[in-house]
């Protein structure tokens, strides 16, 4: 599965593409999506011009949600540093900003593994009121030492998430965090985190308010499932999301065998490698279970291979 469409809703608002000609029409009722894209770039436009135009609107302080799409050269791996700098320079204007999506880029614009990210730690520092940060792409991504009072939602979508970034997340101080999604991906795209790197998340000690834990798009979903089945985190959260990964019957059985599973509101396993029989067993649970999008392993050289959904 590749990411083939942009978000149409973000931060509770409809998303509309920002047109520099018409500018901001509705500062508080719309989440604008800023994107340069290949065509505008070919015409000589810079992302900074677009962002400048957006930021210069008198009502900019009313903006609550912003979606950053393609910046200069994002489709061939150019980093997001200048976008970060520009946002930092305007942090005193963007006083209402609560929701930021950094990298709403579809595969047609750039494969996820090519998106060049940046050190986003200054953003987290300069926007202490931010409640939601969604990031796509993990090349050169860094969060630094995170200590943020208000962040409720953190999502990092990647074809491969480095162990270093996972470790930054597990070292973060986020007292309000309710929703965490990490797309772990494959090692071919730098996803070198292992079960040991994500295990601290399962203790339940890191984020006291966490309700939603997504360890998605993983090549070791079975290991994660087994670890979760035995972990304290199950006493705390409402949603376990292991979707887009390589989950097989082995991992699912561990979850089934766990008598605390019924405390969950939802178990999201969509895109999986479960047998029909296992899907049925899971569907018979009293909680909401999503087992849609069943996959068949690829057979190669006599071996069955399972892949996570989003790698390139």
């Amino acid at each position: 599965m590749t990411i083939d469409s942009h978000v149409d809703e973000f931060g509770g608002l409809p998303v509309r593409e920002f047109d520099p000609e018409t500018g901001i029409q509705d500062a508080s009722g719309v989440a604008y999506r800023l994107t340069l894209g290949y065509e505008r770039e070919q015409q000589g436009m810079k992302f900074s011009d677009l962002l400048e135009k957006y930021l210069s609107h008198p009502q900019i302080g009313k903006v609550t949600a912003l979606v950053i799409g393609c910046w200069d050269g994002a489709y061939e791996g150019s980093g997001a540093e200048t976008v970060v700098d520009q946002l930092l320079d305007s942090s005193d204007l963007l006083t209402g900003l609560r929701h930021l999506f950094f990298g709403d880029i579809t595969f047609e614009e750039s494969e996820i593994s090519w998106i060049g990210q940046a050190d986003l730690s200054p953003l987290l520092r300069s926007f202490p009121q931010l409640e939601e940060l969604r990031i796509r792409g993990a090349n050169d991504l860094s969060l630094g030492r995170v200590n943020h009072e208000h962040l409720k939602t953190l999502v990092i979508e990647a074809g491969g998430l480095g162990a270093d970034v996972v470790q930054e997340v597990t070292a973060a101080v986020l007292p309000e965090l309710e929703h965490l999604e990490l797309w772990l991906g494959t090692d071919e795209y730098g996803g070198d985190a292992s079960i040991a790197d994500v295990e601290p998340l399962l203790t339940g000690a890191l984020f006291p308010k966490l309700k939603y834990l997504g360890l998605r798009n993983s090549m070791f979903s079975d290991e994660i499932a087994k670890a979760i089945a035995a972990a304290p985190i199950l006493n705390q959260i409402e949603v376990v999301d292991l979707s887009l990964g390589t989950l097989s019957d082995e991992g699912a059985q561990a979850l089934l065998d766990c008598n605390r599973l019924n405390q969950l509101k939802k178990l999201d396993l969509h895109f999986h490698y479960l047998s029909d029989e296992m899907c049925k067993k899971l569907s018979d649970l009293e909680i909401d279970v999503d087992v849609s999008d069943q996959q068949e392993p690829d057979e190669y050289d006599g071996e069955m291979e399972r892949y996570c959904a989003v790698s390139e």
Partner: protein, 386 residues
């Protein structure tokens, strides 16, 4: 009158078998086969074997250990001049077959060039033969640096290439100077995905994705061409790997992003241009950066791609391939590797292949590659005669 085909190749190889089958299926007499082994002994025998009017197809010398040794032996003198490690005649004699071991491709190439030059000389003395891919073209097509440069000069869109590098440290310096974080490094003289490395520098680390396996044992370093794509992150290992490859001469170019057609896979295209016309195409899909089909990747849905592109853009892409193949106008068939960037924005020529027409089961107008070639030749021949 029908003409007689002659194949220079390794008789046991499936390329030769499949071409013979194709001749049979088109109602042609089977070709006479001259083995590389024999030519390595006595290239002049060609003068007795090939008759005026023959159609001569020079096939790949690959997948035959005796021939590989013979070509290495032929390359000894030239390799010695270059001053890099090489295999002496004695060492070559003692070589035992070790599956996948990459054996001094530069020395092999120089040996093959020397043989091709002699083949060319012999053939040029025989009247009115039709030589499919001339030896001089094969030599250049087997030199990725030279071929890339030629295509660029001819105005083909190609990924930007780096100047010649000799070590990993040199490569890093140039990457820094050019602010380039992703490069593709290939052995200048190799087929398939042998010695291909996709190198990616991140802020804190560097990683190399490659089909080459680095084996360090008893103080010796050996490289194996492997079917398993590996990822190296240890700087010392990467340095050793790249330094070893550099000794055999490498071509380095910008690693361009590839378009995707289906779930989590990107692709490039192999297009076979026969007699100036782009014909058979294969979409090579991969979950990783290396798309060669024998690496466990798969053929993608070409019809779907054509549909997405529409007839005009598809035709334009085929013209890009025809233009690239046209850089070698004397060559009857050229396998063109074409990359599309995400969103199908740009089309770039990745590589041209002298022996790129082995695509069993891929049809164009109901014919496989070899059948299509044979028919084109026979029609051409009859047409000219008639």
């Amino acid at each position: 009158m029908s003409s007689q085909f002659v194949i220079i190749g390794n008789p046991e190889n499936r390329r030769v078998h499949l071409f013979q089958q194709a001749l049979e299926s088109q109602g042609q007499p089977v070709a006479r086969v001259v083995s590389y082994e024999r030519l390595l002994q006595d290239v002049d025998c060609l003068r007795d074997i090939i008759r005026p009017g023959d159609i001569v197809r020079i096939e790949s010398p690959g997948e035959n250990f005796a021939v590989e040794k013979g070509l290495l032996a032929r390359g000894v003198a030239a390799a010695e001049v270059e001053g890099n490690p090489f295999l002496s005649p004695r060492q070559i004699e003692r070589l035992e077959y070790d599956h996948g071991l990459i054996l001094h491709p530069r020395q092999w190439y120089m040996g093959y060039c020397s043989l091709l030059i002699q083949i060319g000389k012999c053939l040029s003395g025989i009247e009115s033969i039709r030589l499919l891919n001339p030896p001089a073209d094969i030599r250049e097509l087997f030199d990725k640096r030279a071929c890339h440069a030629r295509c660029r000069e001819a105005g083909c869109a190609v990924p930007e290439a780096f100047p010649e590098i000799h070590t990993f440290d040199e490569l890093l310096t140039i990457m820094r100077q050019r602010n380039e974080r992703r490069v593709f490094l290939k052995l200048a003289h190799a087929s398939s995905a042998s010695g291909v490395v996709a190198l990616h520098q991140k802020s804190r680390r560097i990683e190399a994705i490659t089909s080459t396996e680095l084996v360090m044992q008893d103080g010796q370093t050996r490289l194996y061409n492997s079917l398993k794509v590996r990822r190296y992150t240890d700087l010392r290992e990467i340095r050793t790997l790249i330094d070893e490859l550099c000794r055999e001469r490498v071509h380095v170019e910008r690693w361009m992003p590839k378009a995707a057609l289906s779930h989590g896979r990107t692709f490039d295209l192999r297009v076979v241009v026969i007699a100036g016309q782009a014909r058979h195409t294969v979409v090579r899909e991969s979950r990783g950066p290396l798309t060669n089909l024998h690496l466990g990747n798969r053929r993608g849905d070409g019809e779907r791609l054509q549909e997405l592109l529409g007839p005009e853009r598809w035709r334009a892409l085929m013209e890009v391939c025809e233009q690239a193949a046209g850089v070698y106008p004397e060559s009857f068939q050229v396998g063109v590797d074409l990359l599309l960037t995400p969103g199908f924005r740009q089309a770039l020529i990745l590589e041209l292949n002298a022996f790129g027409d082995l695509l069993p089961g891929i049809l164009w107008e109901g014919e496989e590659t070899y059948q299509s070639e044979i028919n084109s030749l026979v029609t051409d021949y009859t047409g000219r005669k008639g």
